[in-house]
């Protein structure tokens, strides 16, 4: 297990190196002089010169990269040009909001996706299976920003049940907090539920056709016990690890969902930064997102090995 973990960590080094190169290179895509573009409407040559010095834009690109990586490794992601605050501080401020949304979305996705997948596999070829497959296709094909807008129209404008926008922290008022996040969480969880449904269905079909399930049935166990205790336990292991990888989709989805529901999270931070031409914030958000994604991949891999005795040995 330790060898596996060691190898897996070693493999991360070149991946992280290339991630840093990609994110640093984004700055090189700016058309024209980056210092002038970063200065925005400020045309004062002194300000432009100061930006050039601050970001070492007057130095060769490898030197710029070296100092950028050095900063990143010491937790310095640069400073927001507009808000005049360290990017790290901004990200740490917004991250808990997105995490709350993500956690709720995962719960919704697991509840809907796994249940629909199990029902679909157990009732294969019936109307239930057909309905679950239609649900999966619907989830995969619905743009989450449209679903968000339609839900606001129905539940906020027409029925007046839920707030259309805004965010209340959990620590302030948990009821209001849940009311302000339930719609965006559902929008986020919807697409992942569809993916989880497909994974669960396929894993359950495989488990239901295996020898140990046949043995369980031959022993005369109730069908419910066969499905829930024998087949589902084995089928859910790959589903949960695969589900962890869907967190990338979740972080992507959060960008649009937070924008629609005006939730001051991680996703809204990157969109606001894009429009304010706050490039250090854009780079910082992409870097942190990629790092979270890589860490989750690693955890998913380790969890898969841990719960699978054949791989452990």
């Amino acid at each position: 297990m330790l060898t596996f973990l060691g190898n897996r960590l070693l493999q991360l080094i070149p991946t992280l190196f290339f991630v840093s190169v990609i994110i640093f290179s984004l700055q090189q895509l700016l058309p024209g002089d980056p210092a002038t573009i970063m200065a925005g409407e400020e045309r004062d040559p002194a300000v432009i010169e100061q930006i050039r010095r601050q970001y070492r834009l007057d130095q060769p690109i490898p030197i710029q990269y070296f100092y950028w990586v050095k900063g990143v490794l010491t937790g310095d992601l640069g400073e927001s040009m507009r808000i005049k605050k360290p990017v790290r501080e901004l990200i740490l401020e917004k991250l808990p909001v997105t995490m709350q949304l993500a956690a709720m979305a995962i719960v919704i996705a697991l509840t809907i996706g796994v249940s629909a997948g199990i029902v679909s596999a157990v009732k294969k070829g019936t109307l239930w299976d057909y309905a679950a497959n239609v649900f999966a296709l619907w989830g995969l094909s619905t743009p989450n920003f449209w679903l968000g807008i339609m839900m606001i129209f129905l539940f906020s404008v027409e029925l007046g049940w839920l707030p259309a926008s805004g965010y209340v922290p959990l620590t302030e008022d948990w009821r209001q907090s849940l009311a302000s996040t339930i719609m965006p969480a559902f929008v986020l969880g919807n697409a992942i539920a569809a993916v989880l449904m497909r994974h669960t269905r396929s894993a359950m079909l495989q488990a239901l056709g295996s020898d140990y399930v046949r043995t369980a049935r031959a022993k005369g166990l109730f069908e419910r016990s066969v499905v829930l205790k024998h087949a589902m336990r084995n089928a859910l292991t790959p589903v949960i690890t695969l589900g962890a990888l869907e967190l990338g989709t979740l972080l992507s989805g959060a960008v649009l969902t937070e924008q629609i529901f005006t939730i001051p999270g991680f996703g809204k931070l990157i969109v606001d930064a894009v429009f304010n031409r706050d490039y250090a914030v854009v780079q910082g958000v992409v870097l942190v997102t990629a790092t979270i994604y890589i860490a989750l991949n690693l955890i998913a891999d380790v969890a898969y090995v841990l719960v699978n005795p054949r791989l452990r040995s």
Partner: protein, 296 residues
């Protein structure tokens, strides 16, 4: 060249009476009702997009203050928007931007990703390690976040959005091609081609590539669906098609502000994205089943 080679290798009508793989795949595809519905819808959308100026009598850009936010009626089937433009006309013209963005961005991803995957899978060694790590790094950045960052740095426009989506979708094709090449390159017919002295480029292009095309075709179809959503998302955020040019994403952005008074502005462009993406997903699923050699 590749198409001609493929056609030569997989003749639609085999002379000896044995059904060719291409014909078998086509027969299986036609039997899949979902895939056929998807195909018909997509062909309809393409035709509507091409014939847009003749399909509707209105101008998609011209504003009319006399028809601001009119509800759907016999005159304006989908209603009008905040500056009096016909929503149906803009949905039809918007199909051009969405379909073009989906196809062109995936064409970019295929053009870059397939050769890189071929090189990595066939040659192996240092090049493989380098390309694979770069692919891992790109896949580590969530799709839309990387596309937003790229579009932000490149500047907002439909062309740049297509480039951003294309670059972001590339690693999927690198990884898929590499995996397929590694599976195919140990087959007997590749060994035979090598034994008779074919150069490496010829083996890769003439013997390996045609055999991995089905997997690439399925992935490309499903990726176009994802690319259409991504383009709509970028346009929704103001990073894709720029106003007043019509695009489903930017129409939704405008519609969000008038949800109380003019909900129809949000319904139709969203429905158009949903139906198009659903059709590509249905077609992709059908193609996957039809091209799967295990399904007889």
């Amino acid at each position: 060249m590749v198409d001609a080679t493929l056609a030569a290798r997989l003749p639609l009508a085999a002379d000896d009476g044995v059904e060719s793989p291409a014909r078998r795949a086509l027969r299986r595809l036609v039997r899949r009702r979902g895939a056929m519905v998807g195909l018909v819808v997509l062909v309809t959308f393409v035709l509507l997009a091409l014939a847009a100026p003749w399909v509707t009598p209105y101008d998609p850009i011209a504003q009319s203050w006399l028809t601001v936010r009119k509800a759907p009626s016999a005159l304006h089937w989908f209603g009008t928007d905040e500056v009096g433009r016909d929503v149906l006309t803009r949905v039809v013209f918007g199909a051009r931007a969405s379909l073009m963005a989906g196809v062109i961005s995936i064409a970019i991803a295929l053009t870059v990703g397939v050769p890189l995957g071929l090189v990595a899978g066939y040659l192996g060694g240092f090049l493989d390690a380098l390309i694979s790590r770069l692919t891992d790094a790109m896949l580590a950045c969530p799709f839309l976040i990387l596309a937003i960052a790229l579009a932000a740095f490149l500047g907002p426009s439909l062309g740049n959005a297509m480039i951003a989506i294309g670059i972001t979708a590339t690693p999927i094709f690198v990884r898929l091609t590499r995996g397929q090449v590694m599976a195919v390159k140990v087959e007997d017919y590749v060994e035979a081609a090598r034994a008779v002295g074919n150069p490496r480029w010829r083996i890769a292009l003439v013997h390996i590539l045609p055999n991995i095309l089905p997997a690439l075709l399925v992935q490309a179809t499903l990726s176009i669906a994802a690319a259409i959503i991504a383009e709509a998302a970028l346009s929704f955020l103001g990073l894709g098609q720029q106003p007043p040019a019509p695009s489903w994403g930017s129409m939704l952005n405008a519609a969000q502000r008038f949800l109380v008074n003019a909900p129809w502005m949000a319904v139709w462009p969203g429905l158009a994205i949903f139906v198009t993406v659903l059709s590509f997903n249905l077609l992709g699923d059908g193609l996957r089943d039809a091209l799967d050699p295990r399904e007889r």
